[in-house]
Each structure stands twice: as structure tokens, then as C-alpha cells.
Symmetry: C2
Subunit: 303 residues, 2 copies
């Protein structure tokens, strides 16, 4: 397979000053290699986190300049395919993650990925659930480390971000400056110990500006079953409120529902879900079923 | 069907002073009728919340005295069946719920429940997902309104609580004093507008003390697929941390996993989920797959 962007092209903060690795046309298929979140520094179970160079954590591959993408545009990124490596890594670090107070020893575990399963130590094997941890565009202002999630995307660790999903970002700078990395062969919602099955990978995507979607609350995700708003904030209460309000805004502004109907249908059949609770900001999403949008006569043609 | 406890037997706070409606043997099948969360006060869309008597909200049916249940025992409640009514209700109330700041008008919507679907106004119909909102036992100390969740159970609004689930509570007082109510014909995780499809119903259950489970972090839930810890707290960050720590305690104390393995497997394949974010305390659960417990050689015979 032709790779357009190799995994040696990494950056560690989303910002306007990044130099594009490649310029692509809207709709052009792009294949990008990615590193695991440790940039390959941990290779065996003897490699503990104390040897890690923390300046090389959560690398994103890119950035990719999307021709014609302008600040304020809504950029749609379709994930056509994603592949993970044959080996993945999990770690513990005392004091870190949601169980940091209970964890007293560093440990690194190598997990084999084979036949659509992920193998943990001796007896445990779980289904592969490939997902992209870091994905986003440069923000209009400032610089956001790739380990942090936000309005620009970034380290959302959202399990919806996988093959078949479409992501929507508000373009912050000319060309959008898109990047992605930090794949997981599997990860449960919450990512509670601080990692999923961390793995290098390969992403195949197209990106293009969508019309008539100005004002969409981004990051926004769509797949076969649901649309979802994603919100990151220092506390889970703020993140949950943000995701809920973003979906209510979508349902009132775009689907044109009265706010009472939006709220009641969200309460009846929408789902508030955790993405991760262990990054510098916590990430929550709100999923709303597409079948209800269809029942309401809303066309999902742009989603 | 023989009903053991009719829906006129209600209480509004879980506490040791409740007078039992019925005394049952451990393992004896019990059928209980329940009221909707408004105790039937709202009957048409013209009945808005301003006419509600708030002293009659979230009634639980019972309490049921379980013979032989003693303080400190772990009580297992098996939900053999649950039925919901043919009509359910949703409401909005300005200032309340996760969208309270956006909602300016009270509204009451009557939803028909038919053919395993719930019908909302004209065109929207969603699959029935019956669940029990309020379920619990009297706490050892104090009195907890039935609208509030806590260590004793109560208004957890947890969508796992349905037919086929087993719930585990730590008995606080002689006879446990079990009660339940506040059924929903459907509700999305989060219950964001402040209600699900509120409905009266009928619960069929057995209750018995389980041995060798002392110290289980309760409330605890088990179904065909997962075990789950449930935790309620004033903030979502505290509730999430509580649910995560409770599952880590179960996996280390009962499954005998080293804490690093517990944490990594939780992060790999466990799921942190919202129950509700709109009650006086917020409720979060952590689900862990039973198939991993089996791979680890842990017998779920008591779960």
C-alpha cells in the first residue's frame, strides 16, 4: 500500500505554526502511518515508564494540509480504514490514572494482537476494538499538546473514532493542519488505568469541507448508528454538561426541534458516555440515535 | 397473577423505622406493583409539574422484610420479571436537569407503550428498554429520601436494573426492608432532561442472603454479560472514582488479581458508564465483562 505520510513525521502540539508534511486535495485518499503513544520507546516488559522521554509522548503524525480549508469551515474526515500493529503495550504508573492511589509499582505489559483478538499475559484475550486516540486540527489560537483534548479534537480517546466513522472539526487555520496518532487495539470507555492497548498503526482517510454545516458543535462524530457530540473539560461535570448542551444545540439549530422535544428525546434515547477520565482534560460524549433523526425527517446527507 | 404487595403500599424514605408491608422467606417469589415517579398525579398532557404534590414523588413500594437478613449480610435480589404500564410520561421543568438553563416552559408528554415500543408524540417511536429507577434497602443509619441514590441503592436510575439482573446490597437493618419503584419504559444513560419514560409497573423478584460475599462493594449488579459496581456522589468526578475503586476492590479482594492486572484489564475491557446526572447525587457504574472472569478461573456461582 502506498503510504503518503510515514511515521517519522510527528508533532507534539497542535498549533498554527506547524509546517505541513504534505498538501492534499479535498476528497483525496490519504494513508498515514502512526506511532504508539510512547513513540516506540517501550519494546519489552523490561522497559518501564521511568526510562521514558516524556517529550516524546502522544506523537501525532502530520500535519496534513487540506487544500481550500479555511478558518471557520467545517472539515469532515472520513475514516476509511485503520489498522493496528501486531503488538501493543499497557503500563501502570504509581500516582497516575483513576487508580493511581492504589498502584505502587510500575509495570509494562506487552500484548499480542492476532486473529482479531488482543492477548493479555497468560489466559486473558479480548476482542480487538481498534480506535484512534489522538485526532484533530490546529486550533485558531494557542498551542495544545497532543496529549490534551479540546475543541480542536486532540487526545479525546473516544472509542467511536474507528473505521466507518466521520469526524467533524471546525477549521482553525488555513489548510486545517490535520494530524492523528495514539491508536489502541482495544480500550474500555474511561481508559481508567491511563492507557488502552497502545499500538502503532495506519490510518486511511479523506478530508473535505462540508457546506451548510456552519455552527455545528465540534468535535462532532457520525457513524452508521449515531451522531455524537464530544466535549472536554477539567471536571467530568463540566464535560458532561458541555456534551449535553452541544447535542441540544445540534438538535435545536440543525434538526429544528423545540428545546423541550430535544431534551426529552435525549433523555429517552440518547446516551451520555465517558471517553476518558485520565488526561489533562476529561472527555465525555453524547450519542443520539440516527433512526430518530430519520423518523423526524432530518436528512443525514451531510453526516 | 397473584400480587403480594399492591401499589398503595408506598414509602418516601429508606430507613430503619419503616413498618414492613409483608414478611417473606428467602428465595420466595414476590410480586410487587409499583407507581410511576409521580405516584400517578399526572394523567394527561394538561397536567404540568406545577400541580404536583412534591411530597409524593419517587414512591417506592414496600418495604418487604426478608426473614433472616441481618445487618452486614449481602442480600442478593434476582429480578425474575418486570412489566411496565401501557402509558408513560415525560416532563420538562425550567431550571431542572442537565438542560435546565435552556428550558423555559413546563411540558408534559404522554407516551404510549405498545408492541415493545414507546411512542413519543407524532412520528417518533423507540424500542422499549424497561428498567427500575428506585431499588434498595434501608441504610444502617439515617433516612434517605427515595429520590436520592446512595450506598443502600435508592434512585440509582441504572439501566442494568431490569429482568435477568441480580442486585447485591449490604443489609443495614434486620429484614433488610427492601423496596422498589420509579420504572421507566425507556431511558438513555444520563437521564439528562430529568426523567425517562416514567411508568407504573410490576416487579417479580426473589431475595436471599448470599454467603462468602462479605465485603462486596455494594450496590453491585450482575447480569449475563457483566458485573458492575455502582457509586453515587455529589460530583461526577467523585462518582466515577468511587465506581472505579469499587471494581478494583472487587477484582483484587474477590478475584485475587494483583492491582496492576486489575487496573490494566479494567482499562482494556471494562467500561465506565453514566447512570444519571440529574438526581441529588449523581450515579456512575463500572462494568467488567464476565468472560474475562471466566478466563481468569473465577467462578461466578454467587454472582
Amino acid at each position: 500500500m502506498n503510504v503518503n505520510v510515514t511515521r517519522d513525521n510527528v508533532f507534539f502540539a497542535f498549533n498554527a505554526d506547524l509546517k505541513p508534511v504534505i498538501r492534499v486535495q479535498q476528497g483525496q485518499e490519504v494513508v498515514m502511518e502512526t506511532n504508539d503513544c510512547f513513540e516506540g520507546q517501550l519494546r519489552t516488559s523490561a522497559d518501564l515508564l521511568d526510562k521514558l522521554d516524556w517529550d516524546h509522548v502522544n506523537p501525532a503524525t502530520g500535519p496534513v494540509y487540506i487544500e481550500g480549508a479555511k478558518p471557520g469551515d467545517i472539515l469532515r474526515v472520513d475514516i476509511l480504514d485503520m489498522q493496528v500493529g501486531e503488538q501493543s503495550i499497557m503500563v501502570t504508573l504509581p500516582g497516575e490514572g483513576a487508580l493511581g492511589d492504589m498502584i505502587s509499582e510500575m509495570e509494562t505489559v506487552i500484548l499480542k494482537v492476532k486473529d482479531k483478538e488482543v492477548f493479555y499475559k497468560g489466559s486473558v484475550h479480548v476482542p480487538q476494538k481498534p480506535m484512534v486516540g489522538v485526532i484533530g486540527v490546529a486550533p485558531e489560537n494557542g498551542s495544545v499538546p497532543t496529549g490534551t483534548p479540546g475543541k480542536h479534537g486532540g487526545n479525546m480517546d473516544c472509542s467511536l473514532v474507528t473505521k466507518g466513522a466521520s469526524l467533524f472539526f471546525t477549521v482553525g487555520v488555513e489548510g486545517a493542519l490535520f494530524g492523528a496518532g495514539d491508536f489502541h487495539a482495544a480500550m474500555g470507555d474511561g481508559e481508567v488505568v491511563i492507557c488502552g492497548a497502545e499500538t502503532p498503526g495506519r490510518l486511511t482517510f479523506t478530508a473535505s469541507v462540508v457546506n451548510e454545516m456552519e455552527g455545528l458543535p465540534t468535535p462532532f462524530i457520525s457513524n452508521e448508528d449515531v451522531v455524537a457530540t464530544v466535549y472536554s473539560a477539567p471536571t467530568l461535570d463540566e464535560a458532561a454538561s458541555g456534551a449535553v448542551h452541544a447535542m441540544a444545540q445540534f438538535l435545536t439549530d440543525f434538526v429544528k426541534l423545540p428545546v423541550n422535544d430535544a431534551g426529552m428525546l435525549m433523555s429517552l434515547s440518547g446516551e451520555l458516555k465517558f471517553c476518558q477520565i485520565v488526561d489533562p482534560e476529561k472527555t465525555v460524549r453524547f450519542e443520539f440515535p440516527k433512526f430518530i433523526l430519520e423518523q423526524l425527517g432530518y436528512s443525514c446527507k451531510n453526516l
